[in-house]
Amino acid sequence: MQENKRVFMKPGKNNKEDRINFVKFWAKYVRTHEDEEWSRQQNMLINSQIKPRVSIKEKAEN
């Protein structure tokens, strides 16, 4: 069982540093939260840009 705890991000001094700090922050979030939790948030980003489609596997199952 992973511990679900609040993590904080250090603001960067410039855009590049801020981006890297967010990568570190998010990686820590992934490490400390359940897969279902971080992936649900990640999917909001991914699925907003990719059209849903019934997969071949799901078609076969139905």
Partner: protein
Amino acid sequence: MEYNQEKKKITCKRELSELDRFALDFLGIIERFTDYVVISGYVSILLGRSRVTEDIDIFIKKITKEQFSNMYNALKEAGFWCINAEKEDEIFSYLEEGLAVRFSYEKTAIPNFELKFPKDKLDEEVFSDFIIVELPKGSIKISSLERHIAFKKYYLKSDKDKEDAKHIEEVFSSKIDYNKINKLKELIKNRNKNAGK
């Protein structure tokens, strides 16, 4: 996520994204005809990186023209098309020339899969140390985390690539073999030197 280094297996109970479904669909066909390993950006995304991509890169083991023909027909039957050409001779010749070819679902271009044959020994080694990522509805073969990090940091080197590498280093921090990364770094440097890069 749980990474069992001995078994070279990562268990990830993630909710599948549309990109994951696309990957499982496509790779389910590819693996009937040849070995594959997913490389580059999608490896980081599958393992949690917060970004999107329009393509998924894979190496496939070299296959004969006949094997390719069978694979291409199966892909078409399943609803995929090749963005680069329609005739299988032409697509296969691109692969043999060391070029990558892209496939997507019919009537779309994004997301797409970018397939290529390994071009040298260093590329071929991707088939000897891959990791299996077990998902709730299938599994995907990805390059080793060390190989992924080394290529992102020392070959591709853009800010995005370095961030992809950083994500994996941070998520799997204690399980990364830095000796292996340093060895790969030297091999990549030699390859770049030989290629005049």
